[in-house]
């Protein structure tokens, strides 16, 4: 029961796009995941910092990049929120909560992805 709830809140990344792109090559898949694990923390930090400081330009840039990366590694559940922030962060009253929620899901997915490499 607890596990099901956990899966609903933190869905397992869907790697089907990457598998298509890498033509099922597991080594290549691992290489891409490793790059994501290396790059994502920097983008996540930039997103959090710019949300905190109200730097909407940096927020736009970081979310733009995150959309692509999250799509590639199949962390799709947060993409609608990232897109909303990308297009209208300045009008959001709950910006910080949304950013925290995204960070939580991405962190959880990264933990799972680390087990694959």
């Amino acid at each position: 029961m607890e596990n099901n709830k956990d899966n609903q809140e933190y869905p397992i990344p869907d790697l089907s796009y990457l598998r298509d792109m890498t033509d099922g090559d597991e080594e290549s898949l691992k290489e891409v995941i490793a790059i994501f694990l290396d790059e994502a923390p920097r983008l996540m930090k930039l997103m959090k910092d710019s949300a905190g400081s109200g730097d909407h330009d940096s927020l736009k840039f970081s979310t733009h990049k995150l959309i692509t990366q999250l799509t590639y590694v199949g962390i799709t559940s947060v993409i609608p929120d990232v897109k909303l922030i990308n297009t209208g962060s300045s009008k959001m009253s709950d910006l910080k909560e949304r950013v925290d929620r995204i960070a939580e899901v991405v962190e959880h997915s990264m933990t799972y992805l680390r087990t694959l490499i």
């Binding site: 796009y17 990457l18 298509d20 792109m21 890498t22 033509d23 090559d25 290549s28 290489e31 891409v32 790059i35 994501f36 290396d38 790059e39 840039f61 733009h64 990049k65 959309i67 692509t68 990366q69 799509t71 590639y72």
Partner: protein, 452 residues
């Protein structure tokens, strides 16, 4: 081995594309920003560039603009996380081969790259057909003189004779065969060249207006005539008056025109003093005047006065050997007018055009070339750029093949599929061309079960 340059500040994107494209046998170059990419283009001469749009410092459109300054022919594909209509249009205007949304479908990426490289290869094999140093005046003459077929050569010979004599000429031919061009050539190539050429479209004016246009009027001749006005015959002086669609003039105007030709003078509407008529008359018709005479709609005596010399313009379907030269001419003319650089003709294009019926004649051909030029993705006019389907169906219908007639839905389905294929299923671009919203396009794709 073809070399592809990937410009993207996102290492993960570069990696994914690199892996995919290495498997396809391409050599891959990578750059993490625009300036580095441009440097690699200068030193490594890649065959194609994939560039992200959103990059710090220099965006993909700026990269594309820089590339186009020196590499006019290298395909550039721009990638973005969001489909953006304005960006897409700008990218295509600047000469991007395509504009793809990330994450790019692997198959779409491969086919787009393959198609871009193939188009360059075809372009490289073909020799440029447009001589860029033709001066404008010469080009104008070329526009009239296009035609190597026997029928056209005979017409050109006739023009040589007519242009040195001030005889009246009747030009007959279907719509779009170039009757006005022939009239211009007669005028400008002979003794009238330094005199005015005045063009009157007889079908565009009511009887009263036409008479006022042709002969002029004096002040007070009718309600709105507040001052004297010269008519076209007077304005033509010793030059040429070209009466287009002569079959459309009323019986009354026919009588007055006949009198002008017989007596070589006319009076303004409401006027009494005769004015000498010195201009040569060239009349044109897309209807059979002989048939109209039989039906009592056109005066026989006027007909014989107009057709001192007759030129019959052949329909394009009877001079298909001229299509190659006409296409070259239109490319030259339209490139100049629309600031394009489509200077080559792809394999099979001329043959494809020669198979068409061309019910709209040369004018239809020109419009077809213009449409094709607009969608051409590089300097080559390709078969897939040319839209003939609907017209072909129209031709079939005219020929009585009723079994070929399909429902409106089938026509719509075929057209949407063709546009989607043309733009490699880029829905933003397709919806632009089709002039419908993207949700509407999606709904139609679903309705017609269209598959890439």
């Amino acid at each position: 081995m073809e070399k592809i340059l990937i410009i993207d500040d996102d290492k993960l994107v570069r990696k994914v594309f690199k892996m995919t494209l290495l498997k396809e046998g391409y050599d891959i170059l990578e750059a993490e920003d625009g300036p580095t990419g441009l440097q690699l283009i200068r030193s490594e001469h890649p065959d194609l560039t994939l560039t992200d749009y959103q990059m710090p410092g220099m965006n993909g459109i700026e990269v594309l603009a820089e590339i186009r300054k020196t590499k006019t022919n290298m395909p550039v594909i721009i990638l973005t996380a969001f489909g953006d209509v304005v960006l897409t249009i700008k990218a295509i205007q600047l000469g991007a081969f395509d504009f793809l949304e990330k994450p790019v479908n692997p198959e779409l990426l491969k086919t787009t790259i393959k198609s871009a490289l193939e188009s360059v290869n075809r372009s490289n094999k073909l020799t440029g057909i447009i001589k860029k140093d033709i001066p404008v005046d010469t080009a104008l003459e070329h526009s009239i003189l296009v035609g190597k077929t026997a029928k056209m050569k005979e017409i050109f010979k006739s023009i040589g004779l007519i242009s040195m004599n001030r005889v009246n000429v009747l030009i007959q031919g279907e719509t779009g065969t170039g009757k006005e061009l022939i009239a211009r050539l007669i005028h400008y190539s002979g003794i009238t060249r330094s005199e005015p050429l005045v063009v009157v479209n007889c079908s565009a004016l009511t009887e009263t207006l036409l008479e006022s246009e042709l002969f002029g009027h004096v002040k007070g001749a009718f309600t709105d005539s507040i001052r004297d006005k010269k008519g076209k015959f007077e304005l033509a002086g010793e030059g040429t008056i070209f009466l287009d669609e002569i079959s459309e003039i009323s019986h009354n105007t026919q009588v007055k025109l006949l009198r002008v030709i017989q007596e070589l003078e006319f009076e303004k509407v409401g006027g009494e003093s005769p004015i000498p008529m010195k201009a040569r008359i060239i009349a044109a018709t897309n209807k059979s005047l002989e048939k109209l005479i039989q039906e009592g709609k056109f005066r026989e005596d006027l007909y014989y006065r107009l057709k001192v010399f007759t030129i019959d313009m052949p329909p394009l379907r009877e001079r298909k050997d001229d299509i190659n030269d006409l296409v070259i001419h239109f490319l030259y003319k339209l490139n100049k007018r629309f600031n394009r650089n489509v200077t080559k003709i792809g394999d099979g294009v001329i043959e494809m055009l020669q198979q068409h019926n061309w019910s709209g004649n040369v004018r239809e051909l020109e419009n077809t070339i213009l449409q094709a030029m607009i969608v051409a993705k590089n300097d080559v006019l390709e078969k897939e750029n040319i839209s003939l389907i609907n017209r072909f169906e129209g031709d079939q219908e005219k020929q009585g093949n009723k079994e070929m007639i399909v429902s409106l839905a089938e026509v719509e389905k075929a057209h949407i599929k063709r546009v989607l294929d043309l733009v490699n299923w880029n829905k933003v671009e397709a919806s632009q061309i089709l002039d419908i919203s993207r949700p509407t396009l999606n709904a139609k794709i679903e309705k017609y079960n269209l598959i890439q």
